[in-house]
């Protein structure tokens, strides 16, 4: 069965996000009011030939931790669902 995993990587709250800061600043300059802060992360989609979901999830957790994110400064959220 085909599975789809969506990994969202975001910076930990304490980590400076220059990208977000620059966008927030630009919005402010454009006259957009009320934006308190902007944080930018990564959205990663993986299509996987499924199998045992538990094992798959464990594997995905591992690659999210080892490769897709840097635990030193980022958090990730894993969403695993059926379908391509």
């Amino acid at each position: 069965m085909k599975m789809k995993a969506i990994v969202t990587v975001t910076l930990k709250p304490s980590i400076l996000d220059p990208q977000g800061e620059a966008v927030a600043h630009a919005l402010q300059n454009m006259g957009v009011k009320g934006v308190q802060s902007v944080r930018i992360g990564k959205h990663i989609e993986l299509e996987i030939e499924g199998g045992d979901e538990k094992a798959l999830r464990a594997k995905l957790e591992e690659i999210s931790k080892e490769l897709l994110s840097n635990p030193v400064m980022e958090n990730f959220h894993l969403d695993l669902r059926a379908g391509g």
């Binding site: 220059p18 990208q19 620059a22 966008v23 600043h25 630009a26 300059n29 454009m30």
Partner: protein, 230 residues
């Protein structure tokens, strides 16, 4: 001729452009991005750099800066507008040129000399050259991979709006000579009116022998409306 070199807060080739223009006997003034006026007699240069940090997308924020309406107006009036590197990215984001510049195919920033084939002398910027002439002009970018829809690419080609392509030392346009994966090896294009140029390579970096070459002179002199000396 006098040029307005637009200075975004993160521009870093602005002074280099001013210097190169002065070496070529032209006048240049820096115009801060928060200004709103460009003289109807001036040429406009959007220099290289990282306009607003360019973290989101190169040039994405710059297109909203206060000076941009004046740049658009200048382009519509037929004044020359040259976007170099980040300037090219801004022109695309602002819709003054079609297409977009994406991350280099090799993913790395690349700073090196590149060979460019001049595709047509039919523009102020290429008036100093003949078709097929090879120029050596440095590149320095991480996001210089030119992308556009097949229709746009076809239109650019049909209207001979591709002014420069990456080629090898022998002048052949081959995939190995493409430093960033640009479609059709595109290094520089112009608008339909042929007064707006966008190019990733840096002509201002090769206007003096001591900087390693003078192949960029013709582009800037051409922009200044100065014909080729025979």
């Amino acid at each position: 001729m006098r040029f307005a070199v637009i200075q975004f807060p993160g521009s870093n080739c602005d002074q280099d452009c001013v210097h190169a223009l002065q070496v070529l006997g032209q006048e240049a003034r820096l115009v801060w991005h928060q200004e709103t006026k460009i003289d109807p007699e001036e040429g406009v240069i959007l220099p290289g750099g990282f306009s607003y940090g360019d973290y989101l997308r190169c040039g994405a924020i710059a297109r909203f800066s206060p000076i941009m309406p004046a740049v658009k107006a200048a382009a519509e009036r037929g004044q020359v507008v040259v976007g170099i590197c980040n300037g090219f990215q801004i022109l695309c984001e602002a819709g003054l040129l079609p297409g977009a510049l994406t991350r280099n195919e090799g993913l790395h920033f690349r700073c090196e000399k590149a060979y460019l084939r001049v595709e047509t002398p039919a523009s102020p910027f290429t008036s100093h050259y003949v078709t097929g002439e090879t120029l050596t002009i440095p590149i320095a970018h991480g996001e210089g991979c030119y992308r556009a829809s097949p229709e746009i690419l076809q239109e650019l080609e049909a209207q001979q709006r591709v002014l420069f392509r990456y080629c090898n030392a022998e002048g052949q346009v081959v995939p190995e000579a493409n430093p960033n994966g640009s479609s059709h090896n595109i290094a520089g294009i112009c608008n339909a009116q042929r007064n707006v140029l966008g190019m990733m390579p840096h002509p201002e970096r090769c206007c003096e022998v001591e900087m390693g070459g003078t192949d960029g002179r013709g582009i800037l002199l051409g922009a200044a409306g100065i014909g080729r000396k025979i």
